[in-house]
Every structure is written in C-alpha cells, then in structure tokens.
Symmetry: C2
Subunit: 502 residues, 2 copies
Amino acid sequence: MQPEEKFQQLKNLLAEIADLNYTVALLGWDQQTYMPPGGAENRGHHLATLQQIVHTKFVAEEIGKLLEDLQPFVAQLDPDSFEARLVKVTRHDYDLESKLPLDFVADRAMVTTAAYAAWGKARAGNDFPSFQPHLEKIIDLAHRYAEFFAPYDHPYDPLLDIFEPGMKTKEIKEIFGNLRPQQVELIRKISSRPQVDDSFMHLTYDEQKQWDIGVEFVTEMGYDWQHGRQDKTLHPFTTSFGLGDVRITTRVHPNYMASALFGTLHETGHAMYQLGCDPSLDRTLLFDGASSGVHESQSRMWENLVGRSYPFWQHFYPRLQEVFPSQLGNISLEAFYKGINKVQPSFIRVEADEATYNLHIMLRMELEISLMEGSIAVRDLPEAWHTRFQEYLGITPPDNTKGVLQDVHWSSGLIGYFPSYALGNLIGAQLWECINRDIPDLSDQIRRGEFAPWLAWLRENVHRHGKKFEPQELILRVTGSKINPAAYMRYLEQKYSAIYGF
Amino acid sequence: MQPEEKFQQLKNLLAEIADLNYTVALLGWDQQTYMPPGGAENRGHHLATLQQIVHTKFVAEEIGKLLEDLQPFVAQLDPDSFEARLVKVTRHDYDLESKLPLDFVADRAMVTTAAYAAWGKARAGNDFPSFQPHLEKIIDLAHRYAEFFAPYDHPYDPLLDIFEPGMKTKEIKEIFGNLRPQQVELIRKISSRPQVDDSFMHLTYDEQKQWDIGVEFVTEMGYDWQHGRQDKTLHPFTTSFGLGDVRITTRVHPNYMASALFGTLHETGHAMYQLGCDPSLDRTLLFDGASSGVHESQSRMWENLVGRSYPFWQHFYPRLQEVFPSQLGNISLEAFYKGINKVQPSFIRVEADEATYNLHIMLRMELEISLMEGSIAVRDLPEAWHTRFQEYLGITPPDNTKGVLQDVHWSSGLIGYFPSYALGNLIGAQLWECINRDIPDLSDQIRRGEFAPWLAWLRENVHRHGKKFEPQELILRVTGSKINPAAYMRYLEQKYSAIYGF
C-alpha cells in the first residue's frame, strides 16, 4: 500500500474515533443539562461502554502499525504540514493511552469512583481524615501512572503532559517561581489601598434578563447560534460535537450577576476557539485546543482581558443599565468598572478575582508537585494548605471545607490539571500584548463594538491551528517568546494601579 | 463453559449493544430537539459510525455461536422464561440483521438518502414523475430484501415481520378485508348525519398554556418526570435511553389545540409502555414493545380510548375551561366532547380523525401489498390512490401532494410499516374491552381522575412483558382472541352512534 493510502486509512480510523468521542460528549452534555434523575444509572453504562470502545479502537494494533509505517513518509514532509502534525499528535496520544495496562485503568476507575463519593461527604462534613485514605490511593495511582512513562526528568512531568503536551515541571516551576513573589507583592499593595464597592453586583437581578443580556452580548461579539447553543447547567462547560456544533452552558445566580455574565463570556471564549479550527482538522485529533492552558487563555481573554476591560463596558454598559435600571441606573461606568474588578483575597478558588486567582492555583500546583516528589504526605496537606494560604493571600481558611477539600479535581484523579488554569492567564496576557501591537487601535475598536478584527487575529494566529502545535511551540511562534509571566504582570500592574491608585 | 455462563456472556454482549442503541437514540433525540443547524453534517457521521458499530457487533460470529450453543439449554427451560424468550427474540433479530449482505445495506443507504431528498421536492412541487424512479428503486430494494428471507408465503411477509414479528400478510389481509367494508359503511352513516361543530378548537390558544396543561394532565395520569421529560420538536416521537429515562416530545400549534393536547397524551402512552417493562429486561432486546402495532395500541389508548372519552373530560374539562376561559367558557362539556370527536373525511392521514384514520392506512397497506405482488406498478400509484380514496372515503384528492406524496415513509425505505398504525387501533380496542370487563367501574374511576388501576392493569398484562411475546401471542394470551376488528368496530359504532345519532 502507498503511504498516501495508509495515511488515508489512519484518517478514516481517527474519524471513527472522533465520532465516538463526539458522541461521548453528547452523553455528557445531556447528563449535565436535560437528563432526568432516573437516567443516571443507565447513563453510567452508556458512558462506560462507549469509552471502552473508544479506548479499544484507539489503542488497536492497526493504528500503532500505521503510525509506525508512516514515520518515513512524514519524515520527508514539511514538519508543519497537516500530515506530519497529525501523525505526531496521534503518536503522542496513542502512547499516552496504550501504555496504560487494563488493570491500571480498571483500578483507576474503582479508586476514583469511591474517592469522588467520599470527597462529597468529607467536604460537606469538613472531615479530611475520612478522605485521606482515598487521596492516598489517588496519589499512589499518579505515581503508578508516571512510572509507565519512565524515564522522566520529574515524576510530575507525565501528569502535566496530559494537559500541556511537551511541557516540563522544570518549566512551570521556573515560570511560577518567578511569578509568585510578584503576585503576592501586588496583592499586598492592593490590600493596602481603600477597597472599591461592588455591592451593586449582589442585588437581585431577574434571571431571564441575565440570561438574555449574556446572549445579546456574545451574539454581538460573534458567537454564531447556527453553530452552537446555550443551556443551563450546574457547573458550566463548553462542549463540541464537531466543527459545526460547539455549545456553551451557563448558570445564573439571582443575587450575583457576575456569575452568568462573565461565565457566558468565558465559555464563549472556549467555543470560539473550537469554532475557529481549520475545517480540515475536523474529525481528527487536531480538532482541539493546543492544550488546556491555551484553551483557558481564550476563555479568560473573553472573560477578563476583554470582558472586564474599560473599553468593553464603554460599549456595553449603557445597554446593561437599560436592562437593569433599578440596580445600575445610579452606578456610573467608572464605579461599575471598579466594582467588577474588585480584588479581595478569599478562600474559594472558583469565586476568586482576576488578581488573586493564580495564587490559588500555584498553591495547588506546588502541593501536587511536592506530593509527587514525596516531600510531603497526604496527611500533611491541610496544614501545608493553611500555611501557604496565609503566606500568599494573607488569610487562613477557617476549615478544610474552605481549604483543601474545596475542589473536585483530586477526587476525580485529576493530578496535573491545575497549572493549566494559571498558564491560561499568562498566555492570554502574552497574546493580548501581541494583538495590541498588531491592532494599535484595538481599544477604540472594542469601544465601538467592533470585535471582528480581534477575532480575525485570534483565528489566524491561534484558532485555525487547532492542536497542531504544542503549547510552548505555538506561543513562541505567535508571540516570539515562550510562556512567561512578564506580560501578565504588566497587565495586572497597569490595570490595578489605575483602579486602586498606587 | 457451562450454559449459564454462556447465557451470561450473551447478556453482556447484548447489554453493550443496548448501550450503543440507547446512545444512537440520544443522537437522534438531540438532532430533533436542540441540535443547531450547523451540527447536521457531523451528526450524520456520528449516526453512521455508531450504527455501523452496532451492526457489526450484533451480527458478530460470537453472538451467532452463543445463540447456537444455547439452543439445547433453552429447549429444556420453560418456554416463557426470560432466558428462553431472550434467546428466541435475539435469534429472530439476529437473523433479520445478519442475512443482509453489506452491499445491500450500502445500496439501501444510498437509495433512501437520494429518495428522501427527491421526495421533499416532489411533494412540494406536486411532481410525482420526479419521485417515481426513486420509488421504483425503493420497491426493488424491498423485493431484494424479501428474497434474503425466502422461502416465504408472501413477498410482503418479510417486510411486515420487521414491525410485527411473526405476523403474516394472509392474516392482515383477512383482518382488514373484514374491517374495511364495515368502516366504509360507518363513515357513510356518519356523513349522512348533521355535522358537529369543532370551530372552538381552531381559535388561538396560548402556546405556553397549551404546553403546561398537557404536562399537568399527564402528570396527574401518572407520567413520572423523574424518569422522563418533554421537549419541543417538529415531528413528535418518544424515545428511551433505558428503563429510567423515557422522554416524550410534542409540537404546539397556536391555532389547533388538539395537536399538543392529544399529541402529548399519545406520546405519553408510548412512554408508559417502555417505563412499565420489567426492570430485568433493561439492556436486552426484550426492553421494547411487542411490536410497533402493540406500541401504537398504547399511545392510541391514551390519545383516543381514554383521551377522547366522555368520562375523561368529565374529569378534566373544568380545568381546561379554567385555563382557556375565553375560548371554552361558553362551550359545554357535551359540545366539547362532540367537537374533539368530529369525523370528517379528509386527505391527510396525520390530520385524520379516529374513525377515518384506518381507511387511510388500509389504502396504503393494500397498495404496498400490490406493489410486492407485482399487480400494480409504481407509475400507476397516483391513479390507484385516487380511485381507492374515492371508494373508501368518498372524496378524491386534488393532487398528488395531498395524495400519494404526502407520507415520508416510502421515501425512507419503510415498506411494511403502515399496517402497525391500524393494528394499534384494533389491539387498543381489544384490550379496552378486557380492561372494562376486569374493572367494571373503569368509567367512574376515570371520571374521578383515578388512573392507577387502569395503568396497573396495563402494566400487569402488557407492559411488563416488553418484547417477550410476539404480538399475536400476546393479544391471544391477554384477550383470549387473536388480533381482530370486532372490538374496534363495536367501539366505533357505539361511540359515533351516540355522537351523530344514528
């Protein structure tokens, strides 16, 4: 068989796997939006059956053989070509999946199912000791996982690589080691200044109007309802069923208007990334973001760099006031802008503001790395959490429910995911500087409600590539530097010095 | 391996296939409720990939071998046992699927895809000649299909068997040959009497209120929203994702209140059948109705035998009047009851009333049988349609759009399905007589809004068996007779003689 035929054969097999993965995504979307409670047990079966079929089909010898056979073919192609990149990324993911023995996959499923249930109870009861043995098993699984990918430079590397292909623990230690003291210092400066008032955000806002205004804003910004939709859920997410159908979800709080508004912007940022992928990538592994961090850079750009910017609200605020006259009629644009950008150290990550958020992440990441290095034991986590929290944010959680037990991630076996959240903020700021350099009047455009040039830039430089490039490679190509915190710190300093006057 | 182990192995394989089928159902449900237009192309891929996997897994040699090996095991069991029935039904469906060569399956997909597109245009343009070559190919496929199941008594038998397992053309010819003249005569009698007034049904009814009252009624009747939901769609259907999640869909017309109201009752009847299956049947091929016709008997019972009955509206009409005072405030219960039961020959099957509906079906069934016998050619269909329509219903369609082109079924390759609609009416009436015999005060119960005993009867006698028995066998066991039109004619005569006074 000619290599071109073999490549086509690989593509066909991957298309089938993509269809199955899109179908798994639909099972998950439905589960979190419309499924009645009675469907839960069967849905577990549906998901388990589909996921097992996907896994079996993906790690099939046939695919391994094709990837092997295609090495010489792609070696002589442009390394940036679709063909070369598809084989590279597929090879990476193939190794990721095929190195895991079935008994490990089964153990992981059992341990995480039990851990997730235990975590829910432990969090509700502020009972870390009851969760501790489960978390110990999870960390043990993480070690076992890492060993399948030995040799490595650092035992955290294989975990990080799942979410940030190609990135090393050494790199993120350096990035965040550099960032942390600067962010701590910034929070200290902000905390020393008079606080801004955001009480207007906690008034009662009609839920349907909150929903509608979010829809109105993202429509004006370019989200295309022919290729997506928005539904209600408890934990917002974005999901894709292929190039033509990328959906967002949102939750609405009657007494906290930021939740739906900025949540909708956030999820739309994720959706626009998927929708901007080159159509040729659809039904391949390249139809995805470069990494979780790069994906997060897009959502955080919509939510914060654009959505919490002054020009954005110069454009949209009159409309928001019109919809909520009794809540916002007497709040000036300046007061609104300051309110939505209020910085205040708090205990819960998902409620954290733009400036403190990364410190929540760094703390988790550092604990994860220490657990993998063996320099800390699971039983010591609560104390380590409290100590660091005081050091970074100047406050100490009153209990473990508001501390080490707050996140679902570890109980689900997700070790290595947290860095992506913080990397997203850094990458977003780096891209943002480049966009502002390439589109000098970007602020004026946004003030006028012209979002097309901004989106065109993102599409050209980031979105269309999908998962072709690893995150460091992509950011280096686009911005001229690897991922680093300089742009992010410049952004925070500039923004908050203006708001808090230092 | 012990036979018990082999049986368990078969069950495991069937459970996996059931999960895949439920997943295909979700892809279809989403396609018809929420999917944005941009998702259509990918959804086609999802469905094709999943269906191909289901097919391949089901016709696998492993299953054939297990079925073979289990023959002696089940032969010595109670023939009504779960084990014996599961093997029997699986064997039936296995033969149905495994006898089709892949090239036939591919041809059928191609022909029907093209025919469906051509049909849409032909119907819109009243252009039968442009559809004729497509329909000729469909009929040719039906002949090819039948040949895979030779020898047969009649070439229509294998087609009928898809929807009504075990039933023969000879039987339905006899059933409907007996029924047709009686129904024609009934319509003639009704037509000779003064017409009732149903103009109140065509006033404007608030769509949300129509939706809500339907929900209220079926909730009171026993549909459990913990195990289902209702969504809007263009062509209402019921779909099941397993025992705990059976969903209905409904459409609402602002100027025709019967559509949502009776449509909701109809679909809930289907849903209650699925929800009433014995839990042990879930994730096997037995978790389904005995046949399309028996399924239809349940939906038509909710819609007509109960939903268009006088006691039902004695109970519910005051509430309906309360919700729609301006439309129904001055309409008496008697006038309402007569209006919703108005009989008037018309051209479109899906708009036909309870008394004329079967004649629409018989006409189609007779033409299908003639096409399979070769006693009529596709090109002669329009004329044959018009002639029979005049004969059965006393009117002649003005064109083919309102005649032979109106239904989607043939263009989708569905030959043999129509009889199920009419059988559903017959079976429903037969069951209805038995229920009334076993629950002598059924009318009073319904008048008081007590639906539990009626549902308990259906669950005990019909629902719990799922697909364990073939339709004729089930009806014989429950009613003491095979499917026949006597009860149905008694029901129609009694109902319409009272309404029309003859």
